[in-house]
């Protein structure tokens, strides 16, 4: 049977969005994310909550190999969001990534255009752990001085890829990072270096 979505669609979606908005507005400051849904594995509650809060028929969604392998995940997302699933990362408005270690290069996702940089992909990654005040060093809008954030696991050569992503500003992808009960943001405006 199909797993249920938000228990309270209006207020759960609002709470999830505010956590994501605060996370992107304050990179390096992880926010609490009380994810309501209990989706089919390997979709995590945090990925599901963000998908339910932000995607719909207007937003093509790309699933990584782990998620795409499960027909239950596709059925769950299709039913609850109505979002079309795409196999082309360059067409995706959102990308859900369950296995960050095997995330495709960031450059393969939509980067936006110089006139419309907002048309780039937003990547939502499920990590095991997010911790602040250690790890990568962040500078940029939303950060008072510098911030630090420890993420695991990370995609290959993540910092080099983020540097390339930052260099293309205002083009580039934005990252929403989740871990159980937490969400952090890495917008394209953030400069990331090894700690």
């Amino acid at each position: 049977m199909l797993a249920p979505g938000f228990a309270d669609p209006v207020h759960d979606a609002q709470g999830t969005f505010r956590a994501v908005m605060d996370a992107l507005a304050r990179p390096g400051l992880p926010q609490r994310l009380d994810a309501g849904p209990n989706p089919p594995a390997p979709l995590t509650p945090e990925l599901a909550a963000i998908a339910l809060a932000l995607t719909d028929a207007d937003t093509p969604v790309w699933l990584d190999a782990d998620l795409a392998a499960s027909s239950e995940v596709a059925a769950y997302l299709r039913f609850h969001t109505g979002a079309p699933l795409t196999e082309d990362p360059a067409r995706a408005a959102f990308a859900l990534i369950r296995d960050p270690a095997r995330c495709p290069p960031l450059a393969r996702f939509a980067q936006g255009t110089p006139a419309y940089p907002d048309t780039s992909t937003t990547l939502v990654l499920a990590l095991d752990a997010i911790a602040s005040e250690a790890g990568l060093r962040l500078i940029g809008p939303g950060i008072d001085g510098t911030a630090r954030i420890a993420l695991s696991p990370l995609p290959d050569s993540f910092v080099a890829q983020l540097a390339e992503n930052r260099a293309g500003f205002p083009l580039g992808v934005d990252l929403i990072l989740t871990a159980p009960g937490r969400v952090a943001g890495l917008p394209r405006s953030t400069a990331v270096t090894e700690g």
Binding site: D56, P141, P170
Partner: protein, 336 residues
């Protein structure tokens, strides 16, 4: 004269539950000219039965905060991209709202998309909590969402504003939502949207500097006093909405998140907290804000932005704080 004491107030503390229900208020207005008329129906009408719920959970028949969930998702996605690219104008599918364009429909849509049950909303119009636009927007959200409203800058989590930034410094976690009429700072220099898009893409802002230079050549100083262009995070030139340039320095490195909504022009843009906002200027003509020679006539504050109030028909006038909350707070403290 104690103008402040006469002003209608929604109350200084969160008071959403006390906002009179719209139905009862409508009845009162209708009944007002005929106080002697007996109540035609002692039975509670369906409207009356609905009224108690309206003050707690929002107006019956409407979604929380008026907008449907699909519209909120669309606006929320635009807000996230606006935060990721500070100062860039994200197009969005602006809706018809139950108020005309020009009355803050952009700000109202942004507020409706971010608002949650725990939020406390303040709305100001030119700094004042008690003008028509501010009162009706605050009441709109009290009706449609049942959330708490306030006039206290310090008590608010979301402040929707038309043309001012509160004098009280904002803090982390607060969100300032601006109502924007013309989001494109280059619009009066280049009317074509296709061209202004291109100019932003190329970061080609020479025309704006020429405009400011022409001010200097004509007036001897930069004569732009409101909607003074700013450069955000070293990249996009942005219209701060028609706030007086007095407020521009408050935008720089503000701990609060700043969101801008233009309803008619269908654009949303943002300045994240702790982001550089630099007013455009020249080395030999640095940016300067307005200065006022006299203090506020009501609270005696200097260093606040003042409104000129004409008090009679023989040239009498007074200068009072445009920010009614801080002015009232100072008057109350002095009276103690």
């Amino acid at each position: 004269m104690s103008a402040m004491g006469m002003l209608p107030r929604d109350g200084g503390a969160p008071d959403g539950a006390q906002v009179p229900s719209p139905v009862r208020e409508r009845d009162r207005v209708r009944d007002a000219p005929y106080p002697e008329r007996p109540d035609p129906s002692p039975q509670p009408s369906p409207e009356r039965e609905r009224a108690p719920g309206a003050s707690e959970a929002g107006e019956a028949g409407y979604n929380f905060a008026y907008l449907d969930e699909g519209t909120k998702r669309m606006i929320r996605r635009a807000i996230l991209k606006a935060i990721a690219v500070p100062g860039y104008q994200v197009p969005f599918a602006s809706r018809e709202m139950p108020m005309p364009y020009g009355w803050g429909t952009g700000g109202v849509q942004v507020t409706a998309a971010i608002l949650g049950r725990a939020d406390v909303l303040k709305v100001i119009d030119q700094g004042a909590d008690d003008t028509t636009n501010a009162v009706s927007i605050r009441r709109f959200f009290a009706r449609t969402s049942g959330i708490a409203t306030t006039t206290r800058t310090t008590a608010a989590t979301i402040i929707q504003t038309r043309h001012r930034i509160p004098e009280t410094p904002l803090r982390e976690g607060q969100i300032l939502v601006y109502q924007v009429p013309i989001p494109e700072p280059l619009r009066f220099l280049e009317p074509r949207e296709t061209e202004t898009r291109q100019l932003h893409a190329l970061a080609e802002y020479g025309a704006m500097h020429v405009k400011l230079y022409e001010d200097i050549s004509r007036h001897g100083h930069i004569a732009t006093t409101y909607a003074y262009p700013v450069e955000v995070a070293g990249r996009y030139v942005m219209d701060p909405s028609p706030t007086p340039k007095f407020d521009n320095p408050k935008m720089d490195q503000s701990p609060a998140l700043q969101l801008f909504g233009a309803g008619r022009e269908r654009r949303i843009y943002a300045v994240p907290p702790y982001t550089s906002v630099r007013s455009l200027d020249f080395e030999d003509h640095p940016f300067r804000v307005q200065e006022f020679t006299e203090p506020c006539a009501l609270c005696g504050a200097s260093g606040h932005y003042l409104d000129e109030v004409v008090t009679d028909d023989s040239g009498g006038r007074m200068y009072v704080c445009s920010d009614t909350d801080i002015c009232e707070t100072r008057v109350a403290e002095a009276a103690r």
